[in-house]
């Protein structure tokens, strides 16, 4: 049970993020939901590479050879960088939308239809 705790957390965080994206009408909250999903996926990647009692995978003067996997950490770092760029871009879209529409309500930001 305790071993699976990270994965349960991942599922809960992603579910909360999806809920925010699907049911919240404020565009900023949609961006927050996206950020939550991203954190969930990052947590998933990091917990995949965890080895019980492992140390950071640096070979120089390593006290023991049990190390966590380095690849998922590299993936997570890349994913965090991409996530920051995405969030920044979406929030700047929100600023421009607010300037032109005067609202961030997704029910009212609907000039494109058909």
């Amino acid at each position: 049970m305790l071993y699976n705790l990270p994965y349960i957390t991942v599922a809960v965080v992603i579910a909360i993020g999806l809920y925010a994206m699907l049911y919240k009408r404020n565009l900023i909250k949609i961006v927050i939901g996206l950020s939550l999903i991203e954190s969930g996926v990052n947590l998933f990647l990091v917990s995949l590479g965890y080895v019980q009692g492992g140390i950071a995978p640096i070979y120089t003067n390593a006290p023991k050879t049990e190390m966590v996997l380095p690849t998922p950490q590299a993936l997570t770092l890349t994913s965090i960088v991409i996530g920051v760029a995405t969030t920044a871009m979406l929030l700047s879209f929100c600023i421009v939308i607010y300037r032109h529409y005067g609202t961030l309500d997704s029910e009212k930001v609907r000039r494109l239809r058909g």
Partner: protein, 522 residues
């Protein structure tokens, strides 16, 4: 010496050249606008040249692999790695280089077209930097043989495209479209990353060939497959995940709409690559094939019926893009459904060839149509078809380009749309006559819709007396795509022998792909 260097390193240089150019564009743009245009177009021409070198290499010597950071560059599995390809590997088979050719050509036409079209806009340095980044994303997606690398390039591509869709703020409407596109593609990319995490956890590998060779097809794999395939089907704009397409294509600047077509097709390539190479050996071909066929049928039919009622010229063309994507899914889907049975050599392979040939044809004529729509909007200032009219009097070349594009998308000989559609009809008819009949009806409806556009925009009395022909660089961008439309229309055998047939055989041969990476050796 120079030639050898270019030939051996072309997969890496195809990514490096536009990436380097993208980050230097704002610096050069600070000093001189003219130098910046020359820099961007020069970088695109050089990329196209490198793609042609790679095309030649792959056609002559077969699938190429390029291992980053390895010496020699073709050593996929280092001796001390325990049989796992640890480095990032670009696996370039005929299908990849075929898609790279499309992306580079449409990107070149788009860059040349933008020079005049975006002349009056502010922030051009950023525009061109993003254009080059978008092209890097497309080229990377099609060349890479690594799952995580695929995700990174997918994200580069979607971020750059979303920013470019919102380039002309247009009273906030473009930003609304871009927000929709960015949210949808970001969540899709995260789902792909989740699926990559699942696959990595199971098979300890990120390389597509390695994952494919170790594939057990457990329940977890099925979840990963569903996440990846649905996301890529969404990114290529097939119905019922098409809602971002009309907004994104419709509100982007003209050149960007044309390049978004190529970007969607890079996702389509990803979909085919996952279906055939990564999951193809383990999953049921019939299920996957019917998944593609049904997606294709719905996209074809609903896309064209939605297009018929549109009044906005670019929104109408965007729905046609959805509808044409259906043809490719149908053709390749029939190939996948019959894969491994005797029917594959009878008609399944021909259907795949038709579907793949349609990819390049669609990129050319839909790109051309979006560029002509951009030209019309550039001169008239509105995208509403009801307010246009009589443009043929003053915009002669644009009208000719539009007629070529419209006849081609409707499948009229001697243009390239006819060549690929005929291949799809003939082969799909043998699979199931009903599918071929629906495909033909869709084609007729497409013609009807474009007759409407032609009539309301170009025919009739002169409404706008002071409209002139568009500047030369825009015409040059359109002419590049028109050249390929006519070339592939009159000599379809040329394209089929050198581009399409090798691409289809490469896609249908995952064992060759896997053994090329894991078998090692040059």
């Amino acid at each position: 010496m120079m030639w050898d260097f270019l030939m051996h390193n072309s997969p890496a240089l195809i990514i490096a050249v536009p990436l380097f150019a993208a980050f230097f564009t704002p610096v050069i743009g600070r000093f001189s606008k003219k130098a910046m245009y020359a820099w961007v177009v020069g970088a695109m021409i050089f990329t196209e040249f490198l793609v042609l070198i790679l095309l030649y290499t792959v056609y002559t010597y077969g699938t190429q692999i390029y291992v980053f950071g390895a010496r020699p560059y073709s050593m996929a599995i280092p001796p001390d790695s325990g049989g796992i390809p640890v480095r990032i590997i670009f696996t370039v088979d005929s299908m990849s280089v075929f898609m790279a050719f499309i992306a580079a050509t449409v990107g070149l036409a788009g860059a040349i077209y933008s020079v005049a079209c975006e002349k009056g806009q502010s922030g051009q340095e950023k525009y061109y930097a993003l254009v080059l980044l978008m092209i890097v994303g497309m080229l990377g997606m099609v060349l890479t043989g690594d799952m995580f690398n695929f995700f990174v390039f997918l994200e580069i591509n979607s971020l750059a495209s979303a920013a470019l869709v919102s380039y002309r703020i247009n009273k906030g409407v473009s930003v609304e479209a871009a927000f929709k596109y960015a949210v949808v593609s970001a969540i899709g990319a995260l789902m792909i990353l989740f699926a990559i995490g699942i696959l990595y956890g199971e098979y300890d590998a990120l390389n597509m060939a390695m994952i494919a060779s170790r594939m057990q097809f457990t329940t977890l794999d099925k979840i990963a497959m569903a996440l990846i395939l649905v996301t890529l089907a969404m990114k290529c704009g097939s119905i019922p995940m098409h809602f971002w397409v009309p907004d994104g294509y419709g509100k982007a600047p003209g050149a960007i709409s044309a390049m978004l077509v190529a970007a969607s097709q890079a996702s389509l390539y990803g979909l085919f690559r996952m279906c055939f190479t990564v999951f193809g050996l383990a999953a049921s071909h019939i299920t996957l094939g019917y998944f593609l066929i049904i997606l294709g049928l719905i996209s074809m039919f609903v896309g064209v019926t939605m297009a018929l009622v549109q009044h906005d010229i670019k929104r109408l063309m965007a729905y046609h893009a959805v509808s044409q994507t259906g043809y490719m899914l149908l053709g390749v889907g029939v190939g996948l459904a019959t894969w491994g049975t005797p029917a594959f050599s009878q008609y399944g392979f021909a259907a795949m060839e038709g579907g793949i040939f349609h990819i390049i044809n669609h990129a050319m004529y839909k790109g051309l149509l979006f560029l002509t729509a951009g030209a019309v909007i550039y001169r008239v200032g509105t995208s509403d078809l009801n307010k246009m009219g009589g443009l043929a009097h003053s915009m002669k070349y644009t009208t000719i380009f539009f007629i070529i594009g419209a006849l081609s998308i409707a499948g009229i000989p001697p243009f390239n749309g006819y060549a690929s559609k005929l291949m799809i009809y003939e082969s799909v008819y043998q699979f199931n006559p009903l599918l071929a009949v629906i495909a033909m009806i869709v084609s007729i409806l497409t013609l009807a819709s474009f007759v409407k556009v032609f009539h309301s925009a170009f025919m009739g009395p002169k409404i706008y007396p002071d409209v002139k022909e568009v500047p030369k660089s825009m015409l040059a961008g359109m002419a590049i795509l028109t050249f390929f439309i006519i070339l592939f229309g009159i000599f379809p055998q040329l394209a089929i022998t050198y581009l399409v047939q090798p691409a289809a055989s490469a896609l249908a041969n995952p064992i060759g792909y896997i053994s090329r990476v894991l078998g090692g050796g040059p």
